[in-house]
Structures are given as C-alpha cells and as structure tokens.
C-alpha cells in the first residue's frame, strides 16, 4: 500500500469513527457568532444581555417575520454589534 493511500484510508476511517462517537465540533475561536430568530420582547431582552458579553458573543444576524420588529431591533443599544449585521424578514429565507 502506498503511503498516500494509507493516510487517505485511515483518514476516512478516523472520520467515520469520530462521526459515530460523542466527539463534539471544534470550539470556535473568539466570540461565538450568534443570530437571533424572533425579535419580540424576549429576543430583544436576550440581545441586551448579549450586549454585556462582548467577549463571548458577536451578533451577526437578526431574523423576524414582522418587519417592524427588525426595524426596532436595529435601533437597540446593542448597535455596536451591527458590523455586518444581516436582517432577515423571513425565517425560510436564511
């Protein structure tokens, strides 16, 4: 067996084993990029908490089926998050 074949096959095998075990995805480096689906009172309440945890979270998307909620949410005190913020008005349009 050629070395390359060996690596490819064992690589596949390892991949299969990992998928079948309880091994979990690699930890993200830096803040977790988070999107909020549902920007009513509760969604915005959570947003205001995330705004206090800048080391842990970066808000990258907000989503709601009601346009006025997206508009309101974009004016929240969490505006420092808004670099690259996407506002999606449809949950199916992700």
């Amino acid at each position: 067996m050629k070395r390359r074949d060996f690596i490819e096959r064992t690589g596949l095998l390892a991949g299969g084993l990992l998928l079948g075990s309880s091994w979990r995805a690699a930890a993200p480096a830096g803040p977790v990029r988070v999107g909020i689906i549902g920007c009513g009172d509760r969604g915005r309440g959570i947003l205001s908490v995330l705004a206090q945890l800048k080391e842990q979270f970066t808000l990258t998307a907000i989503c709601d089926i009601l346009d006025f909620r997206l508009e309101t949410t974009q004016k929240e005190p969490s505006r420092f998050f808004r670099k690259n913020l996407q506002g999606l008005s449809s949950v199916t349009g992700r």
């Binding site: 999107g35 689906i37 549902g38 969604g43 206090q52």
Partner: protein, 302 residues
C-alpha cells in the same frame, strides 16, 4: 452564524430548532421547548444524532446561583421531607401587546391563540415545573387542572386563569401551580415546604424559613462556634444568598457560551426541556379537556 437564539412563538420552536441543528448551528431554544409532546420526543432524537452541537433550553432562572444553592439545600436535607410546593405567577393586566397598524392581532398576541401557544402554563408556570423536576430529580405521575377565560372575555382562546395540581408519587409531593391575569398582589410565589423548613423564592432572591426545631438546632451549632452565623428577619427567615442575583438570562448566556466552547451538556438540556414540555402539555390537556392526565413510560427521559 455559529449559534442561534430561538425566541419565537411556541408553535415555531420545533421546526426552527431542527432546521438550525441540521444546518450545523448551536441552539439556545426558549422555553417551553416545544408545542407538543411528539415534537419534544422527536427533538430529543434529533439532538442525540447531532451531539457536536449544543442544544440548551431557556429555563433561565435555573441558572442563577440561588437556584443551584436551593437544589443543593434540598439534596442535603435542609428542608427535610418536602410534601408541598406552592407556585404562582400572577399579574393584573390583559397580557396583550399593542398591535401596530398593518399587523394582525394573531401575529402580535399569539399567546392568546391555542394554535400558537400553551398559554399561561407554557409561558410562566413551566419555569417552576422545570425547577421541581430538576431539583428533586423527578417528574409528576398524575396531573389535574382547571381554568377558564374568567375576566378577559375579549375573544382570546387561552385561559386567563389556570390552576394545575401535579402529584409526584416517588417523592411524596403535591405541587400547586397557578396563574391569573386578574390580581397582582402576590405576583410571583415559589414556596417549597418540608418537615425541617421552607424555602421561599423570587426570581433573584430566596429566603430560608427553618421550622422551630430546625432553628433551635441551627442556633445550638451556632452557639458552639460562638459566631452568629444566622441572622433572622422579622418573620423568622434568613436570606439564602448574601447579594441579589443578576437576571437569570445573564447566567444562562454565560452557560450557553461555556457549553459551546467546553463541549459540556447544558444543565437545561433537550431531555430536561422535553420532560418539562410534557408536564406543560399534560397540565393544559387536563385544564382544557377536564381530564386527569397520567405520566407514560415513554416520557421518561431523565
């Protein structure tokens, strides 16, 4: 996007959570976990097949250090044998939000509609039901309930006045869970009553009331050290935590981050979330169908 927070109406929780998990996202899913029992059981399966992703359920009060401490006090026997739990979550307003022009009442006030919401039981009482399941490592065996649209006869479908009695056979406890939209005097009540003492909880504060004999013991132990460890307030209670807690969501979001980065299973996870969702649905079934609901073996998830 690596993680999503799902804070929609209850009827959307399941599909959004499944879609987000399948898209490789970590999920913080608001309580109640799902609209129905079949959805709860299915989400347990879906989450188990994607163990690399965190699925945390938003029973946020559970995450305050106060509630961990109370769980610990129960385990260490501070309360003795607990037989009674009293929970209320009352308010005196119609529980409606103003509807902006161009939107329907159903879109804004989805909590009033049965096809979107589990009403007061799902939105409020679920927190306390969840804590009891977790703190006592148990679930109810029998659920009775009653309720009505008793004050706000404004076309709503979900009850504005509810009461459920949960019977916990293994622990020998009765849990009383009630909510009304028509009196705000007592607001939030959460009392856990045992032979040695009672704990009275607010979302961010807690008081321990020892029974007479327990108080004597605590004071005797105290006398040995010569230190005045316990300070009793006028009605015989002592604060469980020295300082007031932050809002539960603050602790919950820290935990969400830790679970994602340290690959931990959340304390409020898909299995505990499903157990509580089952409690809520059985309570609603009992209230709306005038039945006594019993726990089934397939609901045993924890």
């Amino acid at each position: 996007v690596q993680a999503v927070i799902i804070a929609t109406s209850l009827d959307m929780h399941f599909q959004l959570a499944v879609d987000a998990l399948k898209a490789g996202k970590h999920v913080y899913l608001e309580k109640t976990m799902t609209y129905s029992i079949p959805e709860a059981l299915e989400l347990v399966k879906q989450s188990a097949s994607l163990p690399a992703q965190t699925l945390m359920v938003g029973h946020q009060y559970r995450y305050t250090p106060l509630y961990f401490k109370v769980k610990d006090m129960i385990a260490k026997g501070y309360l003795g044998d607990v037989t009674q739990i009293d929970c209320r979550w009352d308010r005196n307003w119609n529980w409606r939000r103003p509807v902006p022009q161009g939107y329907s009442d159903e879109q804004i006030n989805w909590r009033m509609y049965k096809r979107h919401s589990g009403g007061l039981a799902a939105e409020l009482l679920s927190h306390q039901m969840d804590f009891i399941n977790w703190a006592f490592d148990t679930h109810p065996d029998e659920i009775m309930g009653t309720g009505g649209i008793d004050h706000y006869k404004d076309g709503r479908e979900t009850f504005d006045n509810v009461q459920a009695i949960l019977r916990y056979n293994k622990k020998g406890m009765i849990g009383n869970f009630g909510a009304t939209c028509s009196n705000a005097k007592e607001g939030y009540i959460f009392k856990i009553k045992g032979t040695r003492g009672m704990v009275s909880l607010l979302p961010q504060e807690g008081i321990f009331y020892p029974e007479k004999e327990t108080r004597k013991e605590l004071e005797t132990v105290d006398g040995v050290t010569g230190a005045s460890r316990f300070e009793w307030n006028q009605d015989g209670g002592t604060p469980i935590m020295k300082e007031k807690m932050k809002d539960g969501t603050w602790y919950a979001m820290q935990e969400f981050y830790n679970c994602i980065t340290e690959k931990k299973l959340p304390v409020s996870n898909v299995r505990t979330g499903a157990t509580t969702a089952v409690c809520v649905h059985l309570a609603n079934e009992a209230m709306y169908s005038h039945t006594i609901e019993t726990w089934k073996p397939e609901y045993n998830l924890i």
